[in-house]
Amino acid sequence: MSRLWPESTKVLVVEDDPATARIIQARLEMEGLQVFVAFNGTEGLEILHREAIDLITTDLMMPAMNGFRLVQEVRDLPPPKGRIPILLISSNQNEQDMVRCLAAGADDYVTKPISVQVLVERLWRLFERSRRAG
């Protein structure tokens, strides 16, 4: 599967577990993406305001600001930031919360334990879809 990410595509990874964040970051960097890591939603929003982020992947359960609040906050922003594709990462025991997030505007989800291959593929599809939508 060939994925031709445009140069300097920026991904925001919001994940409170540094070990998980590091693996995701390493894999996405292998794809040639520029990765920014935040450990909660508040930090994620700060990065989002500072950088021209193209994609967001966020954990659901986090301290300070969880994934649901983050999705709401991002969707309240004016375009283009308010339309950035968001991929949720959650355990399958949080099904109700996941449904709430999707209803609040998240675009897709993967459940833990995650396959990093699948995560990358889902991000690529979201990216392509948003690029086609302009």
Partner: protein, 375 residues
Amino acid sequence: MLPALRWATAILAGLVGALALVGAFMQVSRDRQNRHRIACYQDWETRLTDFLFKGTHDHGSFGAVPRADHWLFRDFLSRYQSTFAGLEADLLRQLYLDLGIHLSLPRRLQSRRPRARAQAALEIGAFRLDEPAEHGPPPLAKQPDRRPHQRLHGYLDLVLPLLEDPVPFVAHAAARALAHSRNLDYASPVLAWIERQELYQRERKLRVLAGFGSDLLPWMEDNLEPPERRPEPWILFALLVGSHRHRASLPRLLALLKIPHVDLRVSALKALIILADPTVYPAVLPFASDPAWEIRTQAARALGVLGGPSAIPELLRLMADPVYEARRNAAQSLVDLGHAGVSALTYVADDPAADRFARDIARERLEWADERGHP
């Protein structure tokens, strides 16, 4: 008198000094251990990402881990193993086996320290140590440090006795490891362990049972005693049908509704709500008038999900139920029905002749819906 006092003061000062020294020594030792842990983790994190994404994945490509640090390394690997699936999980498992960490499992499962026992049980589950040989480690010839005749299967049999462990979190870890294997040979002891738990813990422990996957449901149908004789395990069955959304178990759920046991009927109704098959609506309708309030409460949710607008008359009747939970669920079901249900609620809220309870709950739910932007 005075010399004795001096001696006592000196001894006391000596003791305090000795205690302070021991405390300081322990603190220094703990700090050193933490610094060592951080240094190891930083080193291993870099090596792990290289191993997973850049390496050849051959035996030894991760590099050496000193035997003295194996205990740290298995904690390190376990953190990742529970988060990742697919290729990364397979590679982590390979790494775990290549380093021979599993060789210490039989000893650790019998450790005097509860945390060590629990950790060992979880590793067996997380690293899938009972999987068939084709998923096993590389041939022994490539691993000179591995003892000959090392068997990978049989580890779960060593976990089994931990279900009787007096420390609850150890027994819980053992149950998780056994369920994680998806080996239905262990379903019976895990089920028995869950049944021994306090009633309030059972739904939480259901997550453990869910680890066996949906194959457990046909197994339960074949192996449990009839529900008329022992309804308790069938409560777990009904709840599992819901969590797995196992439509093939629908006929059995309907049969369970006929058993005169309140908790069993409540669980079956919960599962029917999740399955949301409208054809079962006639079977659920009589439970709106059940003498048990717990059943009426679940029926109030089930009717709205299964019956749609045709359930409105029955839901309006339930809104005058003497039990608040049944009234609230009936009103919530009406809100969830959309315009038709909200119109019925508005009518009740504005009707001075309506039952006072029904009017109150109708107003409360309408306000609730309004705050959340429902129609």
